[in-house]
Symmetry: C2
Subunit: 178 residues, 2 copies
């Protein structure tokens, strides 16, 4: 069966600093018409950075959409000129943790929420770290911590930590035998 | 450090069938002002349904935001009146797969994308299945498949399957020793 939904018309609702929202009329496989709400996002990266004591870099940030602090691996949006997402991963790890890695390995792509949110995340494993001073963005306030991989794994499995990219990156990396 | 960002003002941009977009001015921990774009979502459920041959239920759906078919575990939005997310999980599994489960177990919450997307997902493991005819929503076209858990695990780890809720649910369940 051809499941394709074809665009009939598009209404641009909002074009912001990060999000762009549009509402489209589409034709369904049976010819019926439906509307689709899409929040587009430039995409991003998440970095599982492992130090030589098998501790993982985490950041604690206030996430306004949830009115609370969320613990996550370092991450950030793709920016114009990044080209390869790996360039963004290197920048974010340096800015958020002050870390540079000699070893980079892809942990694959992640679609956080396929229904209405057009974001693709690129996950990386970063190892062989060296350090300088962090340089977070001006409007970015965060706390850094380094947590033993085994402890972090338990937090991901138990649901104590529920950020999707962190759960996916940690469990994938453990499964791959890092 | 108190990382809280406090709302100064809120501008409602869009109030749709699924998404609500607002752009807020907030005061940062250092007193500076920043803007925050938030796409709010009612939240949803994802169900890892395992049959007695250790096969997992998957649906293939056209995801308009990505212009392609995406393979995922059965899932759906919370609706008014669902109360407990488990009620939504039972409904979605019945509608999408025609399956009813006698055993339900929480696999925790997932925040797909904490930055700008206010969605929380509730993950469940469903077992001891029985079947009737599926009854998908009118504007929902999907293909169903049952894939051996071990094969699905490989697809999640390799990145061949990249839907976050599916990756998280499968890897958590495997780690928990189901």
């Amino acid at each position: 069966m051809d499941l394709t939904e074809r665009t009939i018309s598009r209404r641009d609702v909002y074009n912001g600093r990060i999000l762009r929202l549009h509402v489209d009329q589409v034709s369904l496989p049976n010819g019926a018409v439906a509307s689709r709400e899409v929040a587009d996002h430039p995409g991003g990266v998440g970095i599982l950075a492992l130090d030589d004591q098998r501790r993982v870099a985490l950041v604690r940030q206030y996430r306004y959409a949830f009115s609370r602090v969320v613990t996550e691996i370092p991450a950030g949006k793709l920016e114009i000129g990044d080209g390869d997402p790996l360039a963004a991963a290197k920048r974010e790890l340096r800015e958020e943790m002050g870390a540079t890695a000699r070893s980079w390995q892809s942990l694959g792509e992640l679609i956080p929420s396929p229904g209405c949110y057009g974001e693709t995340l690129y996950l990386y494993l970063a190892r062989e770290l060296s350090f300088e001073a962090p340089a977070p963005d001006e409007d970015e306030f965060l706390e850094r911590e380094w947590v033993p991989l085994e402890e972090l794994l338990q937090r991901c499995v138990s649901g104590a930590l529920c950020d999707a990219k962190t759960v996916a990156a940690v469990l994938k990396a453990v499964y791959l035998g890092i």
